[in-house]
């Protein structure tokens, strides 16, 4: 794979030449690209070779150089359960979903149960906008097959690999579960919660967070058989008693708050010290903002900064990577 920041003209040239691309960029730039074997999502934040940056005059292109063929398609929100229908044997798929859309919540809550979803590697991210434009401008995803932008549903690029290649998907979570003994368990699955069982006692979560001055920049972390999966806090409202999250908390799962970090950029660099360049990867807007990553590098990985990451399921404050190797 090849990761590059390109002008619209350069990206268009690649598309016209038949390259298979996953592209991130400002909506106005993505809208100028010709039809072809690509999908795109809006983002104006990136981690480049020289560090994190807000970029509106170029698009971030990952050329899927190992792809023998690819099929881009838009999947309406109501049909998300059919994502795996497009899987190509021995291949992998990249999925992009606009933030705040019905597809975003549907995939987050129900995605794990979609038929065949885990039958091949699936990575992607949630498209966003500049934080100053949240609420005034909708994130978009682009289907290169039609050139059309969508503010709901998903665009999926189903990739067929050259023979003899294998794919590895992994996540890099810089957080660990705090060893405080405090556990959080929710009765219902959802993007918001009023109550939670904290160490077994049911409390109003917003009040608990406020009373105990929890640092909401630190995610709640679940242990999925050894994989640490974050859920990030979006807002705490003691007036309504509600806490909103960037990904759903899952009923019955035990969460603990992450331990504090001294240095975000250093934490990423440490976790990715042995990583190869030119993998497909994306990283979370919350890491970018909380970690003040603008101008800082995060090891070998470059890619878009997103409003959620997908490695089969929706993740928060996590770096997702996909690597294609000779089998």
């Amino acid at each position: 794979m090849k990761n590059e920041l390109l002008s619209v003209a350069e990206a268009a040239e690649r598309i016209t030449a038949g390259d298979v691309l996953a592209i991130a960029g400002d909506e106005a730039l993505l809208a100028q690209l010709p039809k072809g074997n690509w999908i795109g999502g809006t983002s104006v934040y990136f981690v480049t070779d020289t560090g994190g940056a807000t970029i509106r005059d170029r698009v971030f292109c990952t050329t899927l150089t190992d792809a023998a063929a690819a099929t881009p398609r838009h999947v309406p929100a109501a049909d998300l359960a059919t994502i795996a229908d497009g899987y190509q044997p021995g291949g992998y798929s990249v999925v992009l979903i606009p933030a705040f859309s019905s597809a975003h919540s549907a995939f987050a809550i129900d995605g794990q149960s979609y038929p065949g979803l885990f039958n091949q590697p699936l990575v992607g991210w949630i498209a966003g906008v500049h934080v100053d434009e949240i609420g005034s401008k909708a994130p978009k995803v682009f289907d290169g097959a039609t050139g059309l932008a969508h503010d709901d549903g998903a665009v999926v690029l189903h990739v067929t690999l050259d023979s003899g290649k294998s794919v590895n998907v992994d996540i890099v979570n810089i957080f660990s579960r705090a060893d405080t003994g405090t556990t959080f368990v929710f009765e219902d699955t959802g993007f918001e919660a009023t109550t939670a069982k904290v160490n077994g006692e049911t409390v109003n979560l917003a009040q608990y967070i406020t009373d105990n001055t929890l640092d909401t920049r630190l995610p709640l972390v679940a242990n999925y058989a050894g994989a640490l999966v974050n859920v990030s806090v979006q807002a705490v409202d003691t007036d309504t008693g509600k806490v909103a999250f960037y990904a759903p908390v899952m009923a019955g799962v035990e969460y603990r708050q992450a331990s504090a970090l001294d240095n975000y950029a250093a934490a990423f660099a440490d976790k990715t010290a042995n990583a190869a360049e030119n993998q497909y990867s994306c990283n979370c807007i919350l890491n970018y903002l909380h970690g003040e990553l603008e101008g800082k590098t995060t090891g070998a990985f470059t890619g878009p900064i997103t409003f959620g990451e997908i490695a089969y399921i929706l993740l928060n404050q996590t770096l997702v990577r996909l690597d294609v190797k000779a089998a």
Binding site: Q112, N119, A225, A227, A251, V253
Partner: protein
Amino acid sequence: MALPPDSKLQQLLLSSAELSSASLATRIVVSRLRIEISNNNALLGAKLQELKDFVSANDYAASDLASL
């Protein structure tokens, strides 16, 4: 690749053992099934079958769980 015996798969679903050497996909699937069983014990049989279907359909999962 042969499936592990039902008793081993059931034991896996009823435990909280980590699968540190397994693929991310297998860890997520096993965790979801564990959660669903934990929330409703009556689902054990159905979730065991779901795990068997998943392992049957995916060589990587069979490899992940071969050493159970």
